[in-house]
Amino acid sequence: MSFPLLTATAALPAIGAVATAAVPAAQRTAAKWLALLVSLATLALAITVLVRFDPDGARYQLTESHAWIKDFGVRYDLGVDGIAVALLALTALLIPFIVLAGWHDADPLETGSKRWRPTQGFFALILAVEAMVIISFEATDVFVFYIFFEVMLIPMYFLIGGFGDRAHEHGEKAASTQRSYAAVKFLLYNLVGGLIMLAAVIGLYVVAGNFSLPEIVQARANGSLHMATSTERWLFLGFFFAFAVKAPLWPLHTWLPNAMQEATAPVAVLITAVVDKVGTFAMLRFCLQLFPEASKWATPAILVLSLISIVYGALLAVGQRDIKRLVAYASISHFGFIIMGIFAMTSQGQSGATLYMVNHGISTAALMLVAGFLISRRGSRLIADYGGVQKVAPLLAGTFLIGGLATLSLPGLAPFVSEFLVLVGTFARYPAIGVIATFGIVLAALYTLVLYQRTMTGPVKPEVSAMPDLRARELVVVAPLIVLLIFLGVYPKPVTDIVNPAVKQTMTDVHKTDPKPSVEAAK
């Protein structure tokens, strides 16, 4: 019985959350530092996982298995494959930045009652989310995954509804109402998705008799577990719906803009860069592996939906007046790419999609956090309220630009690699869809540059004339992200090497092989 590394990786932030919440009201700063330290320690653990993980080794590694709820056929099974490891690392990596970026977001305006401790709560909730996300990446037992997939909503819900941008064009009252609207919308959307998935989970149990992903896949492969076509399709839809809400896929996306708009920038990053990844990850791990045939059956429809997401999201991003909403719709467009890559059923597509999840996490974090710094300075989310920032705060503008360029996936920055892989992977099987998706890169350039032009360039607006440039803390947050963006753009091999074997496995699970180049095919 070796050291339960995976459990530790999830348990540490969980314990940290409790500890942070327990910090007395007066010691706000202590709570912050505690949270930061815990997240860093978690990062250290995650890196250990990364190191201990052998890309060419067994499919699931560092596995742990304990009996949990026998009557439900549930085992506490953990294990990571390349995809999970990559996302695990991403999560652990982003949280410290999120904590650091949100350093002052939860300072109470007025010191209310003794027992009201928003700051402690804020950081505790972030850590709680981290713990749940991590364990849902690690779970190889469908039920365990489902549980944390669902519970995750609760802390997220409080994060969205409880903390928001201080300034609001219609005052604090309107802000709080809109916040709780956004929070409720977020929770209900995902809860409905989750409950429909619950039905499917139960169905899966009725069919399979247990929840162990490897066992079910095994059983299906060697034919010992037969699933009627219709059953498989229904179950697939049940699972996919939940993940599509989480991802989010058009037309289930409308909760994301509200949530990201109302939440503070760090929380918005938490939503789109970390939590939503669970959805796309789960498509790759559960939908494809558990229901290969149904996945293939649904592929055309899903590809069309993702295509719509790509174009639709980008176009709406162009039409936004609110910086955070714009980023949200951009993310919807990007999630379209991810899902498209997953269901293109080619190695390039799926490796690209996984890589995309990582890169999108980093790039959105960079862009959104800088946007958050910007908003916190001027106290407005409206693009129209800015102008000429570049002149007064060149550093801020520069980082913002780089974040933007990453979002439009400029070659040399990380997202380009993944986006191109997804496109190629899709094009190889569905040329038409691939070509249309390529329009997305033009639109991406459009909304990013329009945003940059309207906010950063032009004559300096009087309101922003006194705007300070990035502070040390903020620079510490942004600089590493940018370095990562460039590094992974120039040298993504480390990630692809981890991901590729896992993708190869998935491809074999769905009995798909990459299409041959026509020249070879001719020969």
Binding site: W250, L423, V435, K523
Partner: protein, 631 residues
């Protein structure tokens, strides 16, 4: 030796990094660092050049594999550089002209507090451009391709406080993105066709692929070229790009970046050779653009915009040549190089003029400047002679060859293309003469500006004039140097291949025709601007003139169709998203709320009505049970 290739790129990249990250403390020396590093890279280029010359014609391709970039199953993208005669030519042009312009900018940007950043961007551009021409596979080329796009975006918008500059920068990037779309689709097609997108596999097996696929690839590459090289229909950005500082216009929007399209097509020659339809499309685009640009050039009063039009048209020539296949490749590149010299020279001259005239760009407010800035006048003049193809100067050789090649295409196509090329030559002569006359001849037409500053023209400092002189030398000699004994032909042939084609006209005839056109063009210009005084306020002009002033209504079209249409589309989509997609959900919620509100009325508080419901329920229960048994 191979490692030097990497260093070639590394030098300016390092410069960019240092200058951009370095911060204010480098403000004092930043420009020198930039210039130094670009020169270093030029020196490396020379060393490699000498090394290549040392080798036999067939051993002149150096490959440097750096590392595996994106390895995913069949998709293998490496960071590999290829230095052969073609890329060598570009390396020298880029680094050479680049270094000169760096030097020039030291003077030109002297009074700009963000000069360090300017040089950072310039170095970034050099690095990207070198990556573009040295890449050994299309994906890596794509990186350079967008890299130069980014650099040009940053440099066009360098004076960001000017909304016009910011807009122009954005426009340039967007239009280029459309082109990039073509390039990326082309790469995907290559991948699905050849299972690779490295030059070797693609170009060597081009023959094996079906012509349809190749045509598709070719057209997509052409789209990319149109975007980058401002060819019709994607030319609209180049004019606005003149918002950038003049050295930028000289380096990026005249000498190097805009010619990347030509490089792409020539580099992909093997594909085009096997796809005649694509080639035809290329030639058509080229011919149309060379006329389009020339006509626009005639109407502009803004000296830079006029030159921009001419750039467009000259690149039209190159594209045309490139479209002609092996007949034209070499001359396309040759004209590209010579054009690099004289057009850069012309722009620097224009910059020097503006420098002396408080950044006035309207030629109608110039006049008679030859006395005030002699050096500028002479260098500009030489460039002028070169571009109109004055016998003996570089433009004469390169352009003449292209016209010949165009006829040599044979058939009606040949005649049409050749005719277009000739006409272009005439118009070129016209508008360049116009620029020359309006700027340096006639009486002075400048007045004090609104706040009473009387511009007092003066010659630019030496740091600016030296590059101009050098470029002038280049534009005088380059042509001869290349053509005498077909040196350039033999140099490039191993890469591009060459064939004479069968010209219906003798070379002499073509040259003669060109000369005639030249004389006509110059004559008309002299008649219009040389004899009488030039009106300070532009006359209304003919319909064509007015159209030409507005880039032949191309921008209006874009504005109406794309911009307005796009705005409407997005606005309506935002509405749809809010009312329809979101509305459905909120509607459902509201529906349940309403239902609930209605149902709770049943709970009216009267015990007896509760009893009724129980009684009814019991009855139903009984009835249902009995029913179940009945059925």
């Amino acid at each position: 030796m191979e490692n030097l290739i990497a260093l070639l790129i590394a030098a300016p990249l390092l410069g960019a990094a240092v200058l951009l990250v370095g911060g204010r403390r480098l403000d004092a020396v930043g420009h020198w660092i930039g210039t130094l590093l670009s020169t270093v890279s030029f020196v490396f280029g020379l060393i490699l050049f000498v090394d290549l010359l040392g080798k036999g014609a067939e051993h002149r391709t150096l490959i440097k594999h750096l590392y595996s970039w994106v390895p995913v199953a069949g998709f293998q993208a490496d960071v590999t550089f290829r230095l052969d005669q073609l890329s060598m030519t570009f390396v020298l042009l880029i680094t050479g002209v680049g270094s000169l312009i760096h030097l020039y900018s030291v003077g030109y940007m002297e009074h700009d507090e963000r000069r360090r950043r300017f040089f950072g961007y310039l170095n970034l551009f050099l690095a990207a451009m070198l990556l573009l021409v040295l890449a050994d596979n299309y994906l890596l080329l794509y990186v350079g391709w967008e890299g130069v796009g980014l650099a040009s975006y940053l440099l066009i918008g360098f004076w960001q406080h000017k909304p016009s500059a910011a807009t122009a920068a954005k426009k340039a990037f967007l239009v280029n993105r459309v082109g990039d779309m073509g390039l990326s689709i082309a790469i995907m097609l290559m991948f699905t066709t050849f299972g690779s997108f490295a030059f070797g596999p693609v170009l060597n097996h081009a023959g094996d692929a079906s012509e349809g696929k190749l045509t598709a690839i070719g057209l997509m590459l052409l789209l990319a070229a149109c975007g980058k090289s401002a060819q019709v229909p994607l030319q609209s950005w180049l004019g606005d790009a003149m918002e950038g500082p003049t050295p930028v216009s000289a380096l990026i929007h005249a000498a190097t970046m805009v010619t990347a399209g030509v490089y792409l097509i020539v580099r992909s020659g093997a594909v085009f050779n096997a796809a005649p339809d694509a080639q035809l499309a290329v030639t058509v685009v080229g011919a149309v653009t060379l006329l389009f640009g020339a006509i626009v050039g005639c109407a502009k009063d803004d000296i830079k915009k006029a030159l921009a039009g001419s750039t467009m048209s000259q690149i039209g020539y190159m594209i045309l040549a490139a479209g002609l296949g092996p007949i034209g490749y070499v001359f396309a590149i040759m004209h590209l190089v010579t054009h690099g010299f004289f057009k850069a020279g012309l722009f620097l001259g224009a910059g020097s003029v503006m420098h002396g005239m408080n950044d006035e760009v309207d030629m109608r407010k110039y006049g008679g400047l030859r006395t005030y800035m002699p050096v500028t006048f002479i260098t500009f003049g030489l460039g002028y002679l070169a571009i109109i193809g004055f016998p003996g100067l570089s433009g004469f050789f390169s352009k003449d060859k292209i016209i010949e090649a165009a006829f040599a295409k044979g058939g009606t196509e040949g005649w049409i293309l050749g005719g277009a090329a000739l006409l272009g030559a005439a118009i070129t002569a016209f508008y360049m003469t116009r620029v020359m006359l309006m700027t340096f001849f006639g009486e002075k037409r400048w007045q004090p500006d609104e706040n009473g500053h009387e511009p007092h023209p003066h010659e630019s400092p030496r740091v600016m004039t030296i590059p101009m002189i050098l470029l002038a030398v280049g534009s005088v000699c380059a042509g001869g140097l290349f053509s005498i004994g077909d040196r350039f032909l033999h140099w490039l042939e191993p890469i591009t291949g060459h064939s004479e084609g069968n010209s219906p006209l003798s070379a002499a005839a073509v040259t003669g025709a060109t000369m005639v056109c030249l004389v006509i063009g110059v004559g008309i210009a002299w008649a219009q601007y040389g004899r009488g005084p030039v009106p300070v306020v532009a006359p209304r002009g003919s319909l064509l003139t007015r159209a030409a002033r507005r880039d032949l209504l191309q921008d209006d079209f874009n504005h109406v169709v794309l911009v307005r249409g796009g705005e409407h589309l997005t606005r309506s989509l935002v509405y749809v998203d809010h009312t329809l997609v979101d509305g459905v959900v909120n509607g459902t919620a509201a529906g349940f709320g309403g239902l609930s509100g209605r149902l709770r009325r049943i709970q009216n508080g009267f015990a007896r009505s509760y009893a009724v419901s129980m009684f009814g329920g019991a009855a139903l229960l009984v009835a249902a049970t009995l029913l179940m048994r009945a059925v």
